[in-house]
Symmetry: C2
Subunit: 300 residues, 2 copies
């Protein structure tokens, strides 16, 4: 019989992830965390509404969390009407938020002391792949805990078990540090080419067959910067939050990340300009000039 | 009838490119530029040896150049026994070196004044794809000049005509600026994950399905850093030369490239440590510590 699943966090990722769970036949209980409208839409898909996180947990064997950052995870877990106040012993809690692996391991220790199981399972792929149920899911946890939640994760995408608690978050932060740098590299190079007269669509096609080939250039930028919009996608401020977590972990370890450190500062400068809610490709606005003329007049 | 091709520059790229031309049936004349051994090997493949660049040019309708940088191109073109002193009028010169588009346009002007045609056609793919004749070739030039040399380029890979003279180099420099940043992003993130206990082979596989997916992570690093070798590949000092050209062009245009500027400085620091001849993934040596223990002792 399918496990009863609780789901907390009905944001741009959480809502389509819950739909995937319903499509796969899981009974799902949720509550309004920040988003009343999403709850209403999901009720039409058979999701049962509970009063709060504690009530969601008491109705569930597996509780999934998908919120922005560690403080929200902590509130959902240990706050006044948090999961620990409603969950039965041996409940398995799956945190699909992207947070610091240090915070993740900390939460796991506190939950284990209270006889709960914990798995970290952050995702990559964005709202489109969340809707399709084809997310990449990076999983950390004890083997038996991961096995228990695997059917639930499979309903949302492809889970890969990467190590003990915290390892899902570790690999996700690696993904985030990489995309921050890859986006910057693409944009610095492409604005240069554009100002020298290149057609960016032709450049994208040829670079897809060259050593610069990367997912963001081929799949992400055509829907955002190239399409003249920075709406949708993945918000610059959420990327900043993930970079801050990676840089915090690096600081604890004495690991140098000069390029990632600069990337954080550049995205933060863009956020200070008021663009934090836009897709992070909006960093292009820092490079494109108002006088966008092709500058071959400077050339021989 | 196949055009008679001259080829100058029998380095790690030039030698396999000449073999591709021979495989396709082109008669090829070359000369010893820096590499006597390569010339000897190519003579066994039917390449005719001439005394110098001028003599190569006088035996050819199309002359291909593949040397490290603009000063070498200038020497091969205009030096004492350079191409212009042997070539017949209307000869087409194809520069497959990676140099500044500003230098490229400059050379084209001087050659046109002497009744020669010029096409820039730098490549991406490295020695392996040079050997297979499957290089990505980025082409700039007048349509009729590009059409004339297209069969020659097709013998070495897939040419894409991107615009007037200089546009091949412009797009190639964009490729180089991107790979410089993508390599750094991969390595800063992966060394962090490794020090937190991650298995890099597992990380590579899962990130290949995530937004961080990129060619260098999936195809380049398994043959270099992950394999414990920085031999072969693409030398860090040649990448520095390309970044310098991109940053020079950016300076002319007033285009900011803070991340690429930092990348240049980091690779240059590595070169100063004596690693300039290694594959540019050797930048990893700046991040890996001698005490490579997994540092979970810092973690909760």
């Amino acid at each position: 019989m399918d496990a009863r699943v609780g789901f907390i966090g009905l944001g741009r990722m959480g809502e389509p992830m819950v739909r995937s769970l319903r499509r796969a036949g899981f009974p799902v209980t949720s509550c309004v965390h920040r988003n009343r409208a999403a709850m209403e839409r999901l009720r039409e898909h058979g999701v049962v509404e509970a009063a709060d996180s504690a009530a969601v947990a008491s109705a569930s064997e597996i509780v999934v969390i998908c919120v922005p950052d560690a403080p929200q995870v902590e509130e959902v877990l240990f706050g006044e009407r948090g999961i620990v106040h409603g969950a039965k012993p041996q409940t398995t809690i799956v945190d699909m938020s992207t947070i610091s692996p240090i915070a993740s391991r900390n939460f796991a220790k506190r939950l284990e002391a209270a006889a709960f199981h914990f798995v970290d399972a952050p995702v990559s792929g964005g709202p489109a792949r969340a809707a399709d149920g084809t997310l990449t899911i990076m999983v950390g946890g004890a083997a038996e805990d991961v096995a228990r939640v695997e059917p639930v994760l499979r309903a949302m995408g492809t889970p890969t078990h990467l190590g003990p608690v915290g390892m899902g978050e570790t690999v996700k932060l690696a993904n985030q540090a990489i995309i921050a740098g890859v986006m910057l590299a693409n944009i610095e190079a492409l604005v240069l080419a554009k100002r020298l007269g290149a057609n960016l669509d032709a450049v994208r096609k040829v670079l897809a067959t060259a050593t610069a080939s990367n997912y963001l250039l081929e799949q992400w930028l055509p829907k955002t910067w190239f399409a003249g919009t920075f709406e949708g996608g993945f918000s610059l401020d959420l990327l900043r939050k993930d970079l801050a977590a990676a840089l915090d972990a690096a600081r604890v370890l004495g690991h140098p990340m000069p390029a990632t450190g600069l990337a954080y500062q550049l995205y933060t400068t863009r956020s200070a300009e008021g663009d934090g809610a836009l897709d992070y490709s909006a960093i292009a606005k820092a490079y494109e000039r108002n006088d966008t003329e092709v500058v071959t007049r400077h050339l021989p």
